[in-house]
């Protein structure tokens, strides 16, 4: 659905939104499997939400539908009880039919409506994909993924996990230093989203960015070298763990400061839209993904960007990796309304919650959200419920989290779940998967060797890239880099 049939004047920025008056901004042209349609058809009662303000008067009868379509999809139960004073109470974990709901075979065998009712009563979080499948009139044994896709997803997740485990080892051996934040447990989100992107799509991440970079295509060697601080790293060793950039793969950075990346992603998304609509590069449908955590959702920058993105209908997806903890602050105790996806509709974009431990579900939601952005329909806020198996960083003793909570999520390890799915649905054999495991181990080992053997950056690199013009700074009047000037330490050999 193209956004504008009107001639856009070249006067950009605030007028951009004004010059996209389409007679049908809210038309429902989504295909049947879109989650918007699911929302409409869903038998679940939707919480009431204010209608979206639209500057464009629309006489279409579908307008009322859209009001509900933009409301949060569903939420039968909270992942954890909100009465936070009961921290010592055993967690009431919603029972699910299977820990991994990605298996469509099971769904189709059960009768759809009764199954759904059962689920509602037991308070399960119902995922997008299975309800969509329920409502499909034709019964189909179509699985969510093909074998190639399945193996690709598996490989990517295993790469993320193996890499992070190796990071921990290297850190404790002293080969890498600084603050390192590992992504164990959250691989499904990175794989689920980023594997649907093209090379020109951008990814903006947080300090927990190794796996985002790897999923986007940055080689394990480059990331490992960067962690070791070597010249062959993706940023030539300048940034380290929290600052993975890649021009080639359009990774716009890890950001040590929470929330700082979101406005950057918003700007990147604007560029893509500008290219498409003003510069008329018709095939420019680049999407930007902004990843951030639950703590960030209480930060001003997040809200500012939700507003801007919705206002200007930017091709961006805001992905919240809600792992329930911000170092030692429980999300439930820090947020007035812990259901983050609800913040989307408040700004005029759909908010979706998905089980972030299930890569197939994440992928389904991602497909739709990214598809929306590509078609020019605007931003989406996706909240992925996930968990980090390790502490906040390698220096975090991780004493605050309840072992029962950890065990609950450890049982929902995304990699084991995908493995089970692939094997149960005969998409892959144990041998295939083991071969992938072995291959990834080799890749990671090789990355470590490469990083070990790479050279440490020369001292002159310290003063490079402060400004664009190297001679504008860092170079003395005699044309030499100041640090090569013997006066730098007045002749003493030690620094």
């Amino acid at each position: 659905m193209s956004l504008s049939h009107h001639h856009l004047n070249t006067n950009i920025l605030p007028t951009l939104s004004a010059t996209i008056p389409t007679p049908f901004p809210l038309v429902f042209s989504a295909p049947i499997v879109s989650f918007l349609s699911f929302i409409f058809y869903s038998p679940l009662s939707l919480p009431s939400s204010p209608p979206i303000f639209s500057p464009f008067p629309s006489s279409l009868p579908t307008r009322k539908k859209m009001a509900t379509a933009f409301s949060p999809s569903k939420f039968a139960a909270q992942p954890f009880p909100l009465n936070t004073t009961s921290q010592n109470n055993p967690l009431t974990i919603p029972t699910t039919a299977s820990p991994f709901l990605g298996s469509t075979r099971k769904l189709i065998r059960l009768s759809s409506s009764s199954n759904l009712n059962i689920r509602r009563r037991s308070g399960t979080v119902v995922a997008v994909s299975d309800v969509v499948k329920e409502n499909k009139s034709k019964s189909t044994l179509n699985l969510l993924i093909t074998k190639e896709e399945g193996l690709e997803l598996y490989e990517d997740m295993v790469l993320g996990r193996a890499f992070e485990d190796m990071c921990a080892q290297m850190y404790y051996r002293g080969k890498m230093f600084g603050f390192v934040h590992l992504y164990n447990g959250q691989e499904a989100i990175s794989t689920g989203f980023i594997k649907l992107l093209k090379q020109q799509d951008s990814v903006v991440s947080t300090y927990r960015d190794h796996v985002h970079a790897l999923s986007k295509g940055v080689s394990a060697r480059a990331v490992m070298s960067e962690l070791f601080g070597k010249t062959t790293g993706c940023c030539r060793g300048q940034g380290g763990s929290m600052h993975m950039f890649s021009r080639e793969h359009n990774v716009l950075g890890g950001f040590a400061f929470i929330g700082e990346g979101i406005p950057v992603a918003t700007g990147a998304a604007f560029t893509s839209k500008y290219k498409r609509e003003v510069l008329k590069e018709a095939d420019c449908d680049h999407v930007t993904l902004a990843f951030f955590g639950d703590g960030t959702c209480n930060n001003g920058q997040f809200f500012e960007c939700l507003n801007m993105a919705a206002l200007w209908k930017l091709p961006i997806v805001f992905v919240v990796e809600n792992n329930l903890w911000a170092i030692g602050m429980s999300h439930l105790r820090a947020t007035s309304d812990p259901q983050i996806y609800k913040k989307g509709p408040a700004f005029g974009m759909p908010g979706v919650h998905v089980n972030g431990m299930d890569v197939l579900k994440v992928r389904e939601v991602a497909k739709e959200a990214i598809g929306r952005a590509r078609r020019g329909e605007g931003p989406t806020l996706v909240e992925c419920e996930t968990y980090r198996f390790r502490g906040h960083s390698l220096a975090d003793p991780d004493e605050l989290r309840d072992p029962a909570e950890k065990a609950h999520y450890a049982a929902r390890d995304p990699i084991t779940a995908l493995k089970k799915y692939l094997i149960e649905n005969s998409l892959a054999s144990e041998a295939d998967l083991k071969a992938i495991d072995k291959k990834i181990d080799e890749v990671v080992e090789e990355a470590v060797e490469f990083a070990d053997e790479s050279p440490v950056p020369p001292r002159s690199q310290l003063l490079e890239n402060v400004f664009a013009d190297p001679k504008g700074f860092g170079i003395g009047p005699d044309g030499q880099y100041r640090c090569e000037d013997p006066k730098f330490t007045e002749g003493t050999a030690q620094v």
């Binding site: 002293g174 929470i258 170092i327 003063l463 402060v466």
Partner: protein, 360 residues
């Protein structure tokens, strides 16, 4: 004047580098070691100060990110259990909100002790500090003030912090009339200075050198004591050159002084303690004695606080100066990760500068 040294290890490039922590077990009259004085480290001293602050004033609050379990540096351990969640609580991740909220609390007569988890994260709150906290009393004609506000933030290099866990932003805040900026050098100083800051009727930004949180160990009296603000301290007497510094950098400067001593250069070392408003008289008196001055800080040299000291000293002591004012500071680059040893104003750089200045 016995100075106790605690041996630190110095490891190679890229690994954790430790500097010898600087001890203030001098014979200064403040915080007299009467009665109980226990050997504790910096974060424990700060913890004690906070306990005392909350004990003595029931309208004092401590808040910030992760403070209730003790904080990422353990400075706030035990406070939440002892004083309750209504007085010691976590905030969501919003620095601007934290400081603004603190200003509001202070304006209503409470003592708000806000913690910013790393000084590098203080920038979203910069607007609130500069535009609100610093000007509150002024623009309300003294009807309201936010003197009860104290903002604590760990600052400075830590060996492996990288761009966003090592910055020294004191210079930005020293440019703001209306707030005070205080930096302690050791546990005993930290406790006394923090209590003074909390009880000072002006908003204060208190930077704690994070390198010293565990490394600096010193005898700290257990009772409630305060050290005066805006008074610099001469911690080492000398006659050839005056060295001015603050925070963790003093321990490096002290090592340089010791080395210079072997070459027969007698160095006078001054801890500024309060950067804004700073004690010009003490520094001036020292420069009048020695005729030479060297300033050292971790922040980048251009526009760092050393520039202010240099300009003021030149204004006041121009004819007395025997050599240009030397500044040995961080380089004008973002704080690097791997290159930290090259970036930092190390002992050797300071030594070189001392010699150059003395032999000018």
């Amino acid at each position: 004047m016995g100075l106790r040294n605690i041996i630190g290890k110095r490891l190679g490039l890229g690994l954790v580098r430790r500097r010898k922590p600087f001890s203030t077990a001098t014979c200064d009259g403040n915080g007299n070691g009467n009665g109980n004085a226990k050997s504790i480290n910096l974060y424990s001293a700060i913890n004690q100060a906070l306990h005392i602050a909350l004990e003595t004033d029931n309208r004092a609050f401590v808040f910030g990110e992760d403070v209730s379990f003790g904080g990422v540096f353990r400075c706030t351990t035990g406070l939440s259990d002892r004083f309750g969640k209504a007085r010691v609580f976590n905030t969501p991740l919003c620095e601007q909100g934290i400081v603004g909220f603190g200003i509001g609390l202070a304006a209503m007569g409470n003592r708000a002790i806000a913690e910013i988890q790393f000084a590098d994260y203080i920038y979203p709150a910069f607007d609130q500090i500069v535009n609100e906290a610093a000007k509150f009393r002024y623009r309300s004609g003294n009807q309201f003030n936010c003197g009860g506000l104290t903002i604590r933030a760990p600052y400075g290099a830590v060996g492996h912090g990288g761009h966003y866990h090592s910055q020294s932003p004191e210079a930005f805040f020293c440019h703001v009339p209306g707030i005070k900026v205080v930096i302690p050098r050791s546990p005993r100083q930290a406790k006394g200075l923090l209590l003074s800051c909390i009880r000072d009727p002006n908003p204060v930004v208190f930077f704690e050198p994070k390198w010293l949180y565990r490394l600096a160990v010193e005898e700290v009296p257990e009772h409630d004591y305060m050290l005066p603000l805006s008074e610099a301290e001469v911690i080492r007497q000398g006659s050839d050159i005056t060295l001015v510094g603050w925070g963790a950098q003093l321990s490096v400067m002290e090592q340089a002084c010791n080395e210079a001593e072997k070459d027969g250069i007698s160095c006078e070392l001054i801890d500024l303690k309060t950067l804004l408003p700073w004690d010009k008289e003490t520094v001036e008196a020292s420069v009048r004695k020695t005729g030479r001055v060297l300033i050292s800080h971790e922040a980048p040299v251009t526009g760092g606080f050393g520039a202010e000291i240099s300009a003021s000293i030149v204004e006041r002591c121009f004819l007395r100066l025997e050599a240009p004012v030397a500044r040995v500071c961080g380089l004008d680059t973002p704080f690097p990760l791997v290159f930290e040893p090259f970036y930092m104003p190390t002992k050797n750089k300071i030594l070189d500068a001392i010699k150059a200045t003395v032999n000018y």
